[in-house]
């Protein structure tokens, strides 16, 4: 390592006023981080609504009647595993390995689809026994919260397909790698929101 590099490595060595504009990768990542935090605030509002309304079942089915813990454990496992394979995929993107990227991101896509399929299955079962969002305030809050998360996962899967097509057509340009990087942040953030969902909605409902 040369001496100039060493001085640059220490952040305080260069005064803020002399550093010039930050590189695009830092600005894009930081901006996307701010977006993710604002998305988390949306989820916080839905969590607050659920926490207030979770007891108001209006004589209809309650959380204890509706939720099956084993089903939720499988859903959680799918999302957690997809988060890790997404991490492996973004390592492959960083080292510009095409086959590794396709393999890990395909596994991520399949696990995400499995999660979504389980959730749609659960929703359709609830609708078929008359526990739809119109039944009670509790179910309205439940469908809004879990449905918004599911919608995010759906959008994430669409984004993943677009990113794989961009790798196929454009290759690993800095632009494509930056977008992939933002996708990985998005996917990990969805997993963090899911921790709140399974703790408050599914496990809290059994207490």
């Amino acid at each position: 390592m040369s001496s100039t590099e060493q001085t640059l490595t220490r952040a305080e060595a260069v005064p803020l006023s002399l550093r010039g504009p930050a590189p695009v990768s830092v600005v894009a990542g930081y901006g996307f981080w701010l977006f993710l935090l604002s998305d988390v605030v949306i989820f916080a509002a839905l969590f607050a609504a659920y926490a207030v309304l979770s007891g108001e079942s209006a004589g209809g089915p309650t959380a204890t009647d509706l939720f099956d813990k084993r089903h939720e454990l499988i859903e959680t496992a799918c999302l957690l595993a997809s988060s890790v394979t997404c991490g492996f995929g973004s390592l492959a993107v960083q080292s510009e390995e095409r086959s590794g990227t396709y393999r890990w991101m395909a596994i991520t896509f399949l696990l995400g689809t499995a999660f979504l399929w389980l959730e749609v299955h659960e929703f359709s079962h609830m609708l078929s026994i008359g526990a739809g969002p119109t039944r009670s305030a509790f179910l309205s809050a439940f469908f809004t919260l879990v449905g918004t998360h599911g919608l995010h996962v759906t959008l994430g899967l669409c984004w993943l397909i677009v990113m794989l097509l961009q790798v196929a057509t454009l290759g690993f340009r800095p632009m494509v790698r930056r977008r992939f990087f933002c996708f990985a942040l998005f996917w990990h953030a969805l997993d963090i929101v899911w921790i709140g969902v399974f703790t408050i909605v599914y496990l809290g409902g059994h207490l």
Binding site: E5, L8, T9, A11, E12, A13, V14, R19, A22, P23, S25, V26, V27, A28, G29, Y30, W33, L34, L37, S38, V40, V41, A44, A45, F47, A48, A49, A51, V52, K69, L73, T76, A77, L80, S83, V84, G87, F88, L91, F181, A184, L185, H188, A189, D191, I192, I195, G196, F198, T199, I200, L203, G204, H206, L207
Partner: protein, 124 residues
């Protein structure tokens, strides 16, 4: 390139160490699996004093969120990550305000509301 980024700060999710990252994902995965199984076990066991279970679930969930932030999103307390940490702290503050504020206000309103039968009598 990397030294340039170091001088400017790091975007969230950028790992500081160039190698051994696959290992960090696997470490994060094992912690996350342990914490998830612990919270599923805690919600269905008789071994724990029942009023303590919600607190235990909350602690396990917050611990797992921390594990995800550190091992998957690569957030750390390094000096070049100050911006990310500050944004995260503000986000956590707003989330806490929103969730606990709503719960306290709604519990208070519930407490102060006239019981339904008295309300019916007043309307008559």
């Amino acid at each position: 390139m990397s030294s340039e980024i170091r001088a400017q700060g790091v975007a969230p999710g950028v790992n500081a160490s160039p190698h051994g990252t696959r290992q960090s994902y696997l470490i994060g995965l094992s912690y996350a699996v342990i914490l998830t199984l612990a919270s599923f076990w805690a919600s269905s066991t008789d071994w724990i004093y029942p009023p303590g279970v919600p607190i235990l679930l909350g602690v396990l969930a917050i611990a797992q969120m921390g594990i995800h932030l550190v091992f998957f999103l690569n957030i750390s307390s390094a000096p070049d990550q100050t911006n990310n940490i500050l944004a995260l702290a503000f986000g956590v503050f707003v989330v806490g305000l929103l969730v606990f504020g709503s719960m306290i206000i709604m519990a208070n309103l519930n407490h102060n509301m006239i019981p339904m039968d008295r309300l019916m009598q007043m309307q008559r």
